[in-house]
């Protein structure tokens, strides 16, 4: 093993991303330090790290969002760097600053870059200056109702109101007609204030047939910025991504080059260092800057599989002052499916205990997860439990592989997003490649008729065999030996449901 760039990393996160970062750190010979809240005492990331530090109660505001506690833990165990993952403190400029002051390397961009890109209005200004195309709209928050109405009319309805401090689809309102504009602005400000403590909102055109296409970059401290192609993330529900793929079917080589150039230009313009994602809105052959996420993105593995790279390794390397790698030739097609604990009908979170677990496997399948049998899905954290990522020679094969792997994966204890992802992948709309962010609203989300037949029959025959046994436990008609099995299964289930 070559000399590790760091001695010991504190991973200021939980869930699958903590596992993700830990895996690469271990492979690089960097010792790993986990932090955990009360609810995560038994979590995989806390168990698998070399050192684990308890940082407080279950609420994120008292644990994973407490930069002071996390920095104290890092000092206590002698960590020489902190990897923030995504979410939590990953885009917190004050935390990046505090790390620097404490002499602990923050594996991510400078506080300046985070601050600049974290403010949507500032970010648009920077993008504009770097000649990155913007969606027609206002660069500033407008508080004057009359001006707002006038500008919205100029841009043309439908328009969008977005929280300046927002992200991840939160705090967005679409307005289709003038008479609803002011009320929507009021609500958007209230939501923004509640969610981010910052009520600034800005106005922009709501583009038609929008696709969400983003470019992955990694920048080093020597001014090099490598762009690792694009990701297509338009399969969304509640403005949250569900299925991502790379490459994007409608991005031509010429457009790809323009998008990558724009992304690199912006990263250079803001002196960016680390992994980052420039999100674009793609509409009818054009692209517009949406925002820059100054952190590792949930869907980074599709880029990794396609380019044969380890982005977390690159993050550690550039954080230590090494030079970023050049972009290798991409190969084939990759798809990621987020496995969330949620009701596939309502998208509401589904809480419970993971009582059984069947993992997918075989060629071209990668599973990034924090799942273990007995795991409790609590209301404290994000509902994403795992990411299933597949890679194949081309898009049609990758789709079939993703379907096959999803059909192998099973979780007992919570409802998941698997059936919805299956519907999307099986839909003609997705297969055509010609879809936009409205895809999930357009497809039929019910199981195929054959599966409904099988499911109802399975439930009925199961009930029949069970009641038959209860009614006549000593009956023997040649099928006898099967019946006592129900007893076993019930016993196992009852035991399985106990908190272990």
């Amino acid at each position: 093993m070559s000399k590790p760039p760091f001695k010991r990393v504190l991973i200021a996160n939980r869930g699958e991303i903590a596992m993700r970062v830990m895996r690469t750190a271990r492979e690089m010979g960097i010792e790993t330090v986990a932090v955990y809240s009360d609810a995560d005492r038994n979590a995989l990331h806390a168990r698998r790290a070399d050192i684990a530090v308890h940082i407080g109660p279950s609420a994120p505001s008292e644990s994973y969002l407490r930069g002071d506690k996390i920095l104290a833990a890092a000092k206590q165990v002698g960590a020489d760097c902190i990897h923030p993952g995504y979410g939590f403190l990953s885009e917190n400029a004050a935390f990046s600053d505090a790390c620097e002051k404490a002499g602990v390397v923050f594996v991510g961009p400078s506080a300046h870059a985070i601050r600049l890109m974290g403010d949507k209005v500032e970010a648009r200004r920077a993008a504009d200056a770097a000649e990155v195309p913007l969606v027609p709209g206002l660069k500033d928050d407008v508080r004057d109702d009359a001006v707002l109405i006038e500008k919205a009319a100029e841009i043309g309805y439908p328009v969008m109101l977005k929280a300046a401090a927002g992200g991840g689809g939160k705090g967005i309102r679409i307005v289709h007609e003038e008479k609803k504009l002011l009320q929507a602005a009021e609500l958007a400000r209230n939501e923004a204030r509640a969610a981010f403590g910052d009520d600034r909102v800005y106005l922009e055109k709501f583009v038609t047939r929008p696709r969400h296409v983003e470019v992955q970059i990694v920048a080093d401290q020597h001014g090099n910025v490598t762009a690792f192609g694009e990701r297509e993330c338009s399969v969304q529900r509640r403005h949250q991504k569900l299925v991502e793929e790379s490459p994007c079917s409608v991005v031509t080589p010429e457009l790809r080059e323009r998008m990558c150039d724009a992304a690199q230009r912006l990263a250079r313009a803001v002196g960016y260092v680390g992994a980052g994602t420039i999100e674009f809105l793609h509409s009818e052959g054009e692209f517009y800057f949406l925002e820059m996420n100054t952190r590792l993105q949930v869907e980074h593995p599709i880029t990794e599989m396609r380019f044969g790279v380890d982005l977390v390794r690159e993050m550690f390397r550039v954080a230590a002052g090494e030079t970023v790698m050049e972009c290798p030739e991409p190969r084939g097609h990759a798809i990621e499916i987020r496995i969330n604990a949620e009701d596939p009908e309502t998208y509401f979170p589904s809480l419970g205990s993971i009582r059984r677990l069947n993992m997918p496997g075989g060629p071209g399948v990668r599973l990034d997860s924090c799942l273990y049998r007995g795991m409790e899905v609590t209301p404290y954290y994000d509902s994403m439990l795992a990411k299933l990522v597949v890679h194949a020679e081309d898009r049609p094969r990758a789709i079939e592989r993703a379907i096959r792997a999803l059909q192998e994966m099973r979780l007992v204890g919570v409802a998941t997003s698997i059936p919805v992802a299956l519907r999307a992948l099986q839909s003609e709309l997705f297969r055509s490649g010609d879809y936009d962010t409205s895809i999930l609203e357009k497809i039929d989300r019910r199981p195929p008729a054959e599966m409904i037949d099988v499911g109802m029959l399975a439930a009925a025959v199961g009930h029949y065999l069970h009641t038959e046994e209860v009614a006549a436990p000593s009956a023997t008609d040649g099928l006898g030996p099967r019946m006592p099995m129900w007893k076993v299964v019930d016993r196992v289930e009852r035991l399985g449901r106990r908190p272990l």
């Binding site: 954290y381 379907i403 007992v412 409802a415 099988v454 029959l457 029949y464 009641t467 008609d477």
Partner: protein
């Protein structure tokens, strides 16, 4: 005996018949040769007219959760006797609605008081879970008979929050 299965808005009635060691299921004018064998760890191997389906069947009170080929179906299932018993129990509650927490979470708003008249679809409680606010609405018109929660209360999934009696006749 009849077995009633319900999945979403699809309702089916199954009959079973055993002869010569073979189990035959029928539903309306369709019928199948069926074999269901327990494999262990919740898995069942279901064979329908020679086709295999590797199912997970999780039997719970009044319904089964069936997982097969990536699908997860919550299927209400009851036999004739159970249906009769349920009908009786339902008649006893006399149409009272109980608004339950759809998931564990924190009550962030209680929109009604005891004695208040509510309409079907009207939000009575707002529950926050997984960083999202979820409004819970009355299913039918009625009058709030009791409020069992208050703002800020952390509640378990399925907890009763508000009870609504049917409106007075006429």
């Amino acid at each position: 005996m009849k077995y009633f299965a319900k999945f979403g808005d699809i309702e089916r009635e199954f009959h079973f018949d055993r002869s010569g060691g073979q189990l035959r299921a029928s539903c309306g004018d369709r019928s199948w040769n069926v074999d269901l064998a327990m494999v262990g760890d919740g898995a069942f191997s279901l064979i329908v007219d020679g086709r295999c389906y590797d199912c997970l069947i999780d039997r719970e009170e009044g319904h089964s959760v069936v997982q097969v080929r990536g699908e997860r179906m919550v299927i209400d299932i009851e036999d004739e006797r159970e249906r009769a018993a349920h009908a009786l129990a339902s008649a006893r509650t006399g149409g009272r609605q109980i608004i339950e927490a759809s998931m564990p979470g924190i009550v962030v708003d209680v929109k009604v008081e005891v004695g208040q008249r509510v309409e079907a679809g009207q939000t009575v409680v707002v529950l926050e879970a997984m960083k999202m606010q979820n409004p819970l609405a009355a299913e039918a018109d009625g009058i709030v008979s009791s409020v069992l929660c208050k703002k800020g209360l952390a509640v378990a999934g399925g907890a009763a929050l508000v009870e609504i009696d049917p409106p007075p006749e006429g």
